[in-house]
């Protein structure tokens, strides 16, 4: 009888910890909703001895040249999995999903192609996305956003 109580206590504690953690913070799917402004593009080289440093504009032009997001300036995450990418010239609507434990942002385009970004940081006012890229040297590109609405 005593051992049953001990086991029940342990399992109930486990469930309680889970419920407390989950309910203490909103889901990344909720936090991401709204309009975000691209602040800067950075590039972290794998080999630090490479002597070229890239400006935010150069990084955007080179690392993002094959990506649809690269001409966007504002990203608006809408409920229902739609993302509006607003640029100087035009707007584009794509689909978004969050995967894993909330650490992967998946963008899906009309032709069914997908792009995946690591959600390195996501809170009420700042979002950081990382993705691997081959510019002139191999490295990781970093996009920083600030929330507008």
């Amino acid at each position: 009888m005593k051992i049953t109580l001990v086991y029940l206590t342990v399992f109930l504690t486990g469930i309680l910890v889970f419920v407390s953690l989950i309910s203490s913070a909103p889901s990344p799917e909720t936090v991401i909703l709204g309009e975000w402004k691209e602040m800067k593009w950075e590039y972290e080289k794998v080999n630090k001895s490479e002597n070229k440093d890239y400006s935010s504009h150069e990084t955007q032009e080179q690392a993002g040249q094959h990506l649809i997001i690269h001409q966007a300036e504002n990203w608006t995450f809408l409920p229902g999995g739609k993302l509006k990418l607003s640029g100087k010239k035009n707007d584009k609507i794509v689909s978004w999903r969050i995967k894993g434990r909330g650490h992967i942002l998946e963008l899906k385009y009309d032709n069914n192609s997908k792009e995946h970004y690591n959600l390195t940081r996501l809170d009420g006012d700042k979002m950081v996305l990382n993705f691997e890229s081959d510019m002139q040297v191999r490295g990781i590109a970093k996009l920083t956003f600030e929330k507008l609405l």
Binding site: F18, I22, R101, G102
Partner: protein, 266 residues
Amino acid sequence: MLRKFSNSRTLDDNLKLGTLTAFSAGMVNIASLMIFFSFSSNVTGHYAILAEEILKGNWYQAGVVFSWIFLFFFGSFVSNMMVIYLNGRNAYFAHALPIILEIMCLVSVGIYGQFFYRETLTETEALLCLMLFAMGLQNGLTASISNFAVKTTHLTGITTDLGILFSMFTMKKFRENEMLVGKAKLLLSIVLAYVLGAVFSGLIYFEIKFKVFYVVSFFLVLVIAYDFSKIRLLRYLAVNRTKEPVSRDPKSETRKVRQEEGISVV
């Protein structure tokens, strides 16, 4: 493969069980990585991620990772409960039950993914929960019935053991030790099966998507069916023997078959 318990198991029993279940685990792990971007058969990395999410103050993510670890633990717990509480009545049933439960979990993931999955984060996390529970069940079962010789869902311990064994094999006395050589064969087979399963899963995933979980379940059905067919064969042989007009004791024949089937004999 499943009937025998602990020290009564041979190297051959462990090899069959180890390779088939490791193949399945490799398949499940790579499928979950490709679909959900998270591992499901190993939890070492999840402990590190849990610590990282706590440090960052990402409590929601910490909760999710905690639930995955907890469910892997719970799977192993349930599996061994079945083994130790039901082993006395029918060892085959006790050892097959966790695999049946695992198949149910994986088939559920397959059916849900194929027909209902809308790719929301909640669904992703719940399906991963189910897969981690299934892997906990499998690892708990194989470790339990093989006296901790077979663990098939993660390779950290196995790689460590292989490193130790291969360093021992630099000495002749260890190279000639059949038990150590057998252990090395078993561990290498598990590693190979796991990697093959992962590669196979990765290849077929692009074609069949969520149906990959039905393929995994098929391999697990093989594990159950193999022993079931052996039991049927042994029963058939026992019945035929008792019909023979040789002065044999039918009770002792039945007793022998029941022992081979893994059913407790009083």
